[in-house]
Structures are given as C-alpha cells and as structure tokens.
C-alpha cells in the first residue's frame, strides 16, 4: 500500500488548494478511487486464476463419459459462456460479481455467495476479538518495552514477540487444542457454542452479541469460552507484530523535543505518556493494525479448521483441500475486498488524525 510510504517520506508541504476542494475531501476521494481500482484488480486476479491457469475447465467439471461426447462438451461451453471471447467472459464474470454471483461451489452445490454469507459473521466475531486482544496487549507490551528500553523487560518482550511472529499458527492451534481441551479440559472443544444450549436467535450473527440481546447469559458465557482459545492463538502473531512496532513508534516519539519540554516543565509521567507520547505514536500503530488484520484473516484459514469454527477460514480450508476452485476464488475475492475496506478505513482515520498525511 503506497500509504505506507507516507510514514517514511512524510515531508510537510504547504497545502495547495486546487479547485476549491478542501484537502481532506481530496484525500478521501483519492483514497476511495484507489480502493475501487484495487477492488477491480482483485476481480481481475480471481478471473485470471479461475479461467486461465487451471487449463481446461471442461475437463474439471464434466465426467469422463460426457467428455467423450463433443455435443455435450460444446453445449457445456456455450452454457458457461466459454465459447465467447475472453474479454466478454470477463465482462460476464464482473457483472456477476457485482450482482453478488460468485459461482457455484462444487462441494456444497450451493452458490458460493450464499455459503460465504453464512460463514462471514463467525469469522468477523473471531477476528474482531483477536484484533482487540492484539491491540490491547501489543500496545501495552510495546509501551513497556520502550519505557524500559535495554532493561530486562525490554529484552524479554523482544524475545517473546519474536517467538510470537515465528510460531506456525496452524501448529499452535493444534497444540492449544490438545493441551487446553484434550488434556487439561479447561476450555470447551470445537464450534462456537455448547450444542446442548443451541445457538441464540440470529440477529447480528455474532453469537456473543445475539446471546446478550436475547438475555441468555448461559449462551453468552459458553460462546465466550469457545471464542477465547482460537482468538488467543490467532492473536499471538499480531501481538508480536504490534509489540515490536509500538516499541519503535513510542521510542521515536520519546526522543522528540516536545516530550522533553513536557518533562522539563514537570508534568507527571502518566500525563506525558498518555497525552503526549501515546497519542502521536498511535497514528502509525493504527496503520499497522490495519495491515495486521490481513494476517489475522490469513490466520483464520489455518486456525478455524482445527477448532471447527464455522467461518470462512474453515470454508476456505475445506475448499482448498478439495480443490473447489469457485469457492476458493470466492473466498479470495471476499477477503480481499474486506481487507481493502479495512485499510481504506484505516487510511481515512489516519488522514483525519494526522493533518500532514492529507497534504501528500
């Protein structure tokens, strides 16, 4: 993302007003246009991968006997628009995507879009909790490491965060499942909620929220219990990432003149930390958190399968292992667009918080 360049080469330039559009609006418009362009690029990527790379889709979809009959093959090709020129096929594909048609899953024999709609809330719940945990712990650890620079706490946190980004997520999920569920039996097993209790009435699709809305405290605790282990497993990598990044962001701010001035005038340490240091360090941290969300979405593919968490990660895992190409591409498309949207929000936040960014 080019906005990452911003942090590196932010050269404050005087605001140039063009055509009377305020800089913030221009910044937003530019970012939104870029996101739309990338979203279009994502559809192009999934189209190219589904239609060009795997060779003959006819062979992949028709049985042996049908392949021997030229009439059936020709009919199938016409039905799926394969006899049309490539650009026309892509136009059809794009038109379908825009209307929410992502093709049929070869595995579930249902439209991929329908499948995904069913699984998205579970993943959002898991990833949301994981990013919340990562932000709280990662920022806290990073601040501690920066404040205790080159002391024991800093060294310990450095090693721990490096371990955090080095652990294979799929393996950690398995180990956590084995240790906490199978051996110690302190966490509930797979799924989102105790099957005996049943799912709460679906309102938002987030079962913790739905349980609270329905006033079912027992379902809520069960849902939280099921959520906590996979969320922690998922969060470990991003905690490590955010710890390292927060540390350097805070160290950079700590060296600034205005922090030294605040110290010199005798402000209490807490005030300096929260009002002077964290506030400006948070700007780059938010950007990284947006990018970290991408690794969380990646992680769900590896974690959900093990915890039998019925989200898009598990759907992606099942589709990938059974080579259900339309489903895999659907996941790629949806996750790509979600990731793009999140980074757009982060960019906008970034621009709103830090005026220098808008002037780029």
């Amino acid at each position: 993302m080019p906005e990452k360049d911003v942090a590196v080469a932010a050269v404050p330039r005087p605001a140039r007003r063009r055509r009377g559009v305020p800089p913030l609006a221009r910044f937003l418009i530019r970012r939104i246009l870029m996101a739309l362009l990338l979203a279009w690029g994502i559809t192009l990527v999934t189209f190219v991968l589904t239609n060009l790379v795997p060779g003959d889709p006819v062979a992949a979809n028709l049985g042996q006997r049908a392949l021997g009959d030229p009439a059936i093959v020709a009919q199938w090709r016409t039905e799926h628009g394969l006899d049309k020129p490539l650009w026309e096929q892509y136009a059809l594909h794009l038109g379908g995507v825009v209307q929410g048609d992502l093709g049929m899953s070869q595995q579930s024999h249902r439209p991929v879009a329908e499948d995904l709609a069913e699984y998205v809330p579970a993943t959002l719940e898991l990833a949301g909790v994981a990013i919340a945990i990562s932000l709280v712990l990662g920022v806290a650890f990073g601040v501690v490491a920066a404040l205790r620079r080159d002391r024991l706490a800093d060294h310990v946190l450095r090693v721990l965060s490096l371990v955090g980004i080095s652990v294979p997520t799929f393996w950690l999920a398995l180990v956590a499942f084995y240790v906490f569920f199978f051996r110690l039996q302190i966490t509930p097993g797979s799924g989102r909620v105790d099957p005996a209790l049943g799912a709460p009435p679906g309102v938002t699709g987030l079962q913790t929220v739905d349980a609270l809305l329905a006033g079912r405290w027992d379902i809520f605790t069960s849902a939280v219990g099921h959520l906590i282990t996979p969320a922690l497993v998922l969060a470990l990598y991003t905690i490590g990432l955010l710890t390292r990044f927060t540390r350097s962001a805070v160290l950079e701010v700590l060296g600034q003149d205005y922090v030294r001035a605040a110290r010199a005038k005798g402000l209490p340490g807490r005030v300096i930390l929260f009002r002077y240091v964290l506030r400006s360090a948070l700007v780059p941290i938010i950007t990284v958190a947006g990018l970290a969300f991408g690794s969380l979405l990646s992680g769900t593919v590896l974690v959900e399968a093990i915890f039998a968490w019925p989200g898009i990660g598990q759907y992606a895992y099942k589709s990938a292992t059974s080579l259900d190409l339309p489903a895999v591409m659907g996941v790629g498309l949806v996750v790509g667009v979600v990731y793009l949207a999140i980074n757009l929000i982060v960019d906008v936040l970034y621009g709103v918080i830090d005026p220098r960014v808008r002037l780029q």
Binding site: M1, K4, A7, V8, L162, L174, V301, A316, T321
Partner: protein
C-alpha cells in the same frame, strides 16, 4: 563499487557489532545446526524416513525418540529429512523473490514514469490481498504440488523487495556519483549495475533474512492446507497436517511444528538484530514492508 566509500564502510563497521549480539549469535547457531542436520540427514537419521516398519503411533521412547506416525514411520528421521525439503526450497524461494522483486523495484525507481507506475500498481494489487489467502488462491489454481506452492509464495513475496528497492534506488538515483557516472557516458544499465545497486544491497539482504522465516511459514502453511508437498514427502507442514487426524498422539504434529518454529525463530533473531544495526530510516522502511 568504489563510489560512495563512506556508506559501505559505515555498513561494514556496524555489521560486525550486530553479529556479536546474543540474539544474532543464537540465530546463527540454530540456523547452522539445521544446516548441518539437512546436509547429514542420511548419516544422522536412525531410520529410513519413508520406511513403514515400526509400530504405529508409538509414543516417544528408546529406538524412536520422537515417536512414530500412523504409518509406523520414525518421526525423528522424518523431521531430519524434512530439513532437506524445506530449507533449500525456502532459500531458493527467497533468493528468487529477491532477484525478481529487486530488479523490478530497481527498474521502477530508476526509470520512473510508466515503468514505475505499472510495476508498482502490480505490487499494490498483490498487497491488496492477505498473503496466505492470495498464496492459497494461486496454489489452488495451479494445482497442488510443492513446486506450485513455491510459485504461489513467489507471487506474494516479490513485491516487498520491489518496494524497498524502489525506495532505496529513488534515494540514490540523484546522488552526485550516479549523475557523474551518467555524465561520463554510462548506459542506464551500467549505471544501475555499477553505481546504484551496490549501494542498496545491505538493507535488501536484511529484508531477505527476515523473509526466510515468513516464507517458510507460508510454504509449510500451504502444505498444511494440502496445497504443497504430497504425502510420503517428509515436509514439516504436511507432517503437522497428518498429526491433526491423530491429535491425541501429540508427538506426530508437535516435533515437525517445533522444527518450523526453530528455523523461523533463528532467522527472525538474526534479521531483527541486523535490522537494528542499519540506518534507522531504511530500517523503518523495511519493518513496514516486512509485514
């Protein structure tokens, strides 16, 4: 090469100090250990990694220190042979993405204009996907095999190098020694090769060190998903995957997972220390790209 001696001297002066840091030493020791295991696996391994002649799912004990899997193969031997699969592939993979990404990024930064635009927009497109998702999509489209998994990781890995190299080249391009080279009549390629690239290699090599860990995680992750190494192969990710079916026999998945963890950790220890030793500005650029 002789141009800008100060920059090169500065880097060399800082590097030895970085290599003396405890974390870097730990990283080098672990990485060398794995290198030795990879090279001497046929001598070290107590059993044939593919032979199914031991009792099935035997717990770790004398004769098979890491236990055996559901087909009666010795896990210790398989983990050792696994180093011969994963480590060379990862190194080749990172080297390829460094060369491809580095060259594209250098062209983008040096030539600018439409070259820059087209290469960097392509990189943006790759960055628009979460890495595992894109790698999974590409690997699934190409069909499951270890070579295709490597290709898939290559697709997601090159843009990081392109970005970093481009940024560094932009910083060097207008410097006097490059301009004077051009005035002496160097062609664009000669200028790029002789004046520009030698001055940007340090940070890129650091990025590559950090990237070895990421690449191994991705590659073994794809194998775990069944999109990489095929069954009899003692690839670590695939071994963890086979341990899922028999998760109450904890040793089947635990040891190959630890193997991945230690290799990745070694390169992260090393890369993290080297990065700190670099110039803070380039170091930050790398840190942000290494996400």
């Amino acid at each position: 090469m002789k141009r800008d001696p100060l920059a090169r001297k500065g880097l060399l002066r800082r590097l030895p100090e970085a290599w003396r840091q405890p974390l870097a030493v730990a990283g080098v020791v672990i990485a060398l250990g794995w290198l030795v295991i990879a090279l001497t696996a046929p001598l070290l391994a107590p059993h044939d990694p593919l032979a199914q002649d031991l009792p099935r799912l035997a717990a770790p004990g004398p004769g098979h220190w890491f236990g055996t899997d559901q087909l009666g193969r010795d896990i210790l031997s398989r983990v050792m042979y696994g180093a011969r699969v994963s480590i060379p592939l990862t190194v080749v993979l990172v080297a390829l993405s460094l060369v491809i990404g580095g060259l594209l990024g250098a062209c983008a930064g040096y030539f600018g204009k439409w070259v820059d635009e087209s290469i960097m927009r392509l990189a943006d497109l790759v960055f628009a996907f979460p890495t595992v998702i894109l790698a999974m999509v590409v690997a699934a489209a190409l069909g499951p095999s270890l070579t295709n998994a490597v290709l898939a990781v290559l697709v997601v890995a090159w843009p990081a190098y392109a970005r970093v190299t481009r940024g560094l080249v932009l910083g060097v391009r207008e410097r006097e020694f490059v301009l004077s080279g051009r005035l002496l009549g160097f062609s664009a390629w000669r200028s790029l090769r002789v004046d520009v690239l030698p001055n940007v290699t340090g940070p890129i090599l650091v990025l590559a060190t950090l990237d070895i860990g990421t690449a191994l995680l991705l590659l073994s992750g794809l194998s775990f998903l069944g999109l990489g190494a095929k069954p009899p192969s003692p690839e670590w990710g695939a071994m963890v995957s086979s341990g899922v079916e028999v998760f109450d026999s904890w040793w089947v998945a635990t040891f190959p997972g630890l193997a991945i963890l230690t290799v990745v950790l070694a390169f992260n220890f090393l890369g993290d220390t080297l990065r700190d030793a670099l110039d803070p500005r380039t170091a930050r650029a790398i840190k942000e790209r290494a996400l």
